[in-house]
Amino acid sequence: MRITAEALGWSVAGTTVVREVSADIAPGETVGLLGPNGSGKSSLLRCLAGLRAPDTGTVRYDGESVRDWSARRIARHVAFVAQDSGADSDLRVGDVVGLGRTPFRDRWRGPDAADRAVVAAALERLGLTALADRSWKALSGGERQRAHIARALAQEPHALLLDEPTNHLDVKHQLELMELLSGTGRTVLVALHDLTLAARYCDRLLLLHHGRLIAAGPPAHVLTAERLAEVFEVDAELTADALGHPHVTYRGPLGGAPRPPAPRLARPAP
């Protein structure tokens, strides 16, 4: 599914968070959404997932504006994985993944055999089959993250939108997740902090700065030392790794903000 943003703007409590963002994500493409904290990644992702109505501009799925779509109709097209959805729930993991079938079910019906098959496949895909009967509370942060992704897959979406899904994962699970996402054949838009990971697995990158889209294109085109200095305020060196993907080596933070001073133990004199 093609996702198009046309001059999107969104603000909250008088602060503009997303400014005039236009972007086009082609069907089947894996796109990384990059930017420092507060650059508007999460907000843009929520606008594109239909969770926030943009103040200006239009979101289109396959060319059709979603402004008047119901939440249910949107949920049949797009699955969203939030950054930290660590509920204090004691649902079984299988039931949590089963929530992904919600948009396809009548309110009075329970899950049927087809639903259970989809859930079983999603659990299998994320290596969670053995945990299906485990209580949500008993999962580690990484397992929860994977269960949320299984839940999103159980939604059988045309596009997957994920907000920093690698956050709680160890290195192996990060790599496995990125392989899985880029191999689904679905349109994937994923907000990431790890630039090297993004460069390795994404077809294209979108770079946000103060709510504006300042660069879009293949990783080697978007990630340049000058841009990283400007946007992330870091002194970085870019090299090509053995596979030809850009690799980021950080030399340190740049200018203005020096390292935080060592904590003072003595109380200041009165």
């Binding site: 929520r46 997932a49 969770l51 119901s70 939440a71 249910r72 109709r73 949107i74 949920a75 049949r76 797009v78 699955a79 969203f80 939030a82 959805s85 509920a87 204090d88 729930s89 004691d90 649902l91 079984r92 039931d95 949590v96 929530l99 992904g100 919600t102 948009p103 079910r105 309110r107 009075w108 329970g110 259970r116 949320h148 939604q155």
Partner: protein, 345 residues
């Protein structure tokens, strides 16, 4: 023969358990009607029911017949309806506010009801037209209207619901106390206190019929929101991304629980603890999935209140204890037991 899948087995098992629980409720209602200051035998009970259902049986003496048909039966049925209603409201509000301590009175509805009741009893406002029940219902709905007014720009955020509910409840509690202290004599105060603690004694057929219409409707609406309630435990964005209209669902469920609570409180007062402990106990038994939890809580709440009300009638006979006192006395140890078994205490 290949083994049946676990899901099918657990479904069949669940259906059997559910039917057993329905049977237990019917049996409890029948048994509880017999219990009281004057015991009624099974055959007498059958004769009373037969007489009123138009069957050809020999009627009992009018006094006994009236005791069973006009007082006991409506009272026990009311206990079943109110118990089911409070337990489900508690379970729903615990999910909507994502707060384990939520109970049906969290929204301040019961405080509004008591203000309305006190206004009628003490000040005589519309005493003839409304009666205590009508006054309490109006008070409950007024407090809920104030709650919605205060919440109208909040996006129905969980924390805001809890805080605003507490504030509204405090306001109406203060108003009730003010009216009582300023105008009531000792006897009235005692009567109102009895009502505030909750008692099934005022239940009559007219109020039972109202409850018997409103309660099943409310429970059905809540049950149809089961999946949404499951989804809401993962936060607004995740729930919305599953196609759940989060604000509409929250508003609908607030209205349903407020109306159910208002109808219950208006007749029998604010019976505490049922709405808090029954959902937790049932969750411990059947798990947190609302499709299963809500009907189970309804049955468990009904059985629990039928028996606690029977106990309230006979424990200190001939004096009757407010059932709210019994629910708390039984509820606290039960609640502690459940928490301990779940390793949360």
């Amino acid at each position: 023969m290949p083994p049946r899948p676990a899901a099918a087995r657990s479904f069949a098992g669940g259906a059997v358990l559910f039917l057993l629980a329905v049977g237990l409720l019917v049996g409890s209602v029948a048994a509880a009607v017999r219990i009281g200051t004057a015991d009624v035998g099974w055959t007498d009970l059958a004769r009373v029911l037969g007489t009123h259902l138009g069957l050809d049986v020999e009627p009992l003496p009018p006094l006994v017949d009236s005791l069973v048909w006009d007082l006991r039966l409506p009272r026990v049925l009311m206990a079943a309806l109110v118990g089911a209603s409070l337990a489900v409201c508690g379970a729903v509000l615990q999910a909507v506010t994502r707060n384990a301590l939520a109970d049906p009175y969290l929204l301040g509805v019961s405080s509004g009801a008591s203000t309305g009741a006190v206004a009628v009893v003490v000040l005589g406002v519309g005493a003839n037209a409304l009666g205590v029940t009508g006054g309490a219902l109006l008070g409950a709905l007024a407090s809920f209207a104030l709650l919605l007014l205060l919440l109208r720009r909040s996006g129905l955020d969980s924390v805001r619901i809890v805080l605003t509910g507490v504030v509204v409840g405090q306001l109406f509690t203060a108003l009730t106390s003010l009216v009582l202290m300023a105008s009531a004599d000792a006897d009235t105060t005692r009567a109102v206190t009895h009502w505030l603690l909750g008692s099934m004694a005022p239940a009559r057929w007219d109020t039972v019929v109202v409850c018997a219409i409103v309660t099943p409707l409310g429970l059905a609406v809540a049950w149809l929101c089961s999946t949404a309630l499951d989804g809401l435990s993962f936060g607004t964005d995740t729930a919305a991304s599953l196609g759940i209209g989060v604000r509409h669902t929250r508003l609908l469920l607030l209205v349903v629980t407020a109306v159910l609570t208002a109808v219950a409180v208006a007749t029998v007062g604010a019976i505490g603890f049922v709405g808090l402990i029954v959902p937790h106990g049932v969750r411990f038994l059947v798990g947190p999935l609302h499709r299963v939890l809500l009907p189970s809580a309804a049955l468990a709440g009904a059985v629990f209140l039928v028996w606690t009300d029977a106990l309230a009638r006979i424990a200190f006979a001939p004096r009757e204890v407010p059932v709210g006192v019994i629910t708390a006395l039984l509820g606290v140890p039960l609640f502690l037991l459940v928490l301990r078994r779940r390793g949360e205490l």
